[in-house]
């Protein structure tokens, strides 16, 4: 992030928690619970995206307002 931050006027500026969750949660692959999955001989565990999204919906319902912007300062 070398160049000075040119930010759009239409950007809300804060990437709030719901925006973050929207990005980091898997949209496609759905894997059940914390079952260990053999991936080409590799034991891999994934959280269930459906359960994560359900939690996100509950979170969004609880907190329609702004989140503290401290996360966006970490760059």
């Amino acid at each position: 992030m070398s160049e000075p931050p040119a930010l759009p006027a239409h950007g809300v500026g804060t990437n709030d928690l719901v925006d973050l969750l929207d990005r980091v949660i898997d949209k496609g692959a759905v894997v059940t619970g914390d079952i260990v999955i053999g991936l080409a001989g590799i034991d891999l565990i994934r959280l269930d995206a459906r359960l994560l999204l359900a939690a996100v919906d509950r979170l969004a319902a609880d907190e329609p307002a702004d989140e503290p912007a401290d996360r966006t300062e970490v760059r």
Partner: protein, 250 residues
């Protein structure tokens, strides 16, 4: 069958990436496992803690905390490692051997993925209808002739159709202007009611032009009562390679 302790995976990086001291999920120290010019950014995790996050009775803030810690580490890695290929939240391998096997079996996909996102940030762009929807003429019953009613009804639908065409055209112009400056683009999660919902992968040396285009498009949309919303810059969360997706069949 599930081990007590496992390795949480944040991102793939080039093998020579060095990290500053950093605490990840569960406040555990973050490190890089490297092999064959590739690295995985990991920290130890107690699997029960992670599984508890998705428990329906759990505080949904736990997911928020996990996401923020994941994001904090990925951003710190991106700042020091250059190319960074973020993994989805909640990706865990059982141990170091599993991590090395993963690096080995997915090396080609990881390398091409890293090349794809090198020097880029992600931007989220949405467009929605601004203001209140148009009132339905049926809402205002008045004493009028059947002909007058039908006329008014027809005008209403003509206005709606004009509005729909205007939206399509403006969105198409926006997509063209942004797409031209982006290295890649993918659809967003597809929230209902959005006229446009896309993630753009943008080279940092194109950022000022991309932002200028966002402002131009945003002004034009706003003039017609549509709202452009931008989030970013993000690590390239939406541009992880498809080959890394894990399916239950594997």
């Amino acid at each position: 069958m599930t081990p007590e302790r496992a390795l949480y995976v944040y991102a793939a990086v080039p093998g020579d990436a060095a990290l500053d001291a950093l605490r990840g999920v569960g406040d555990e120290p973050v490190g890089v496992l490297s092999a064959d010019g590739l690295g995985l950014v990991v920290s130890e995790v107690t699997t029960a803690d992670l599984a508890a996050v998705t428990d329906e009775s759990a505080d949904p803030r736990l997911v928020g905390d996990l996401a923020q810690r994941h994001d904090l580490v990925v951003r710190a890695v991106a700042a020091s490692a250059g190319a960074t290929l973020p993994f989805r939240i909640g990706t865990v391998v059982t141990d170091r051997q599993a991590a090395y096997r993963f690096l080995g079996s997915r090396a080609a996909a990881l390398r091409s993925g890293l090349t794809h996102v090198a020097g880029c940030d992600e931007w989220g762009v949405t467009v929605r209808e601004g203001g209140a929807g148009q009132a339905d003429p049926d809402d205002t019953p008045t004493a009028e002739s059947g002909t007058a009613y039908l006329m008014r009804r027809r005008q209403h639908f003509q206005r709606l159709e004009q509005r729909r065409r205007a939206a399509l055209e403006l969105v198409a112009q926006t997509e063209a202007a942004l797409g031209e400056l982006a290295a890649d683009t993918v659809p967003g999660r597809g929230q209902q009611g959005l006229l446009l919902d896309r993630a753009y992968l943008v080279r940092r040396d194109e950022q000022s032009r991309f932002v200028a285009a966002l402002d131009r498009c945003g002004d034009r949309l706003a003039a017609d009562g549509f709202v452009l919303r931008v989030t970013g810059p993000w690590p390239p969360y939406s541009f992880t390679v498809a080959d890394l997706e894990v399916t239950a069949d594997e």
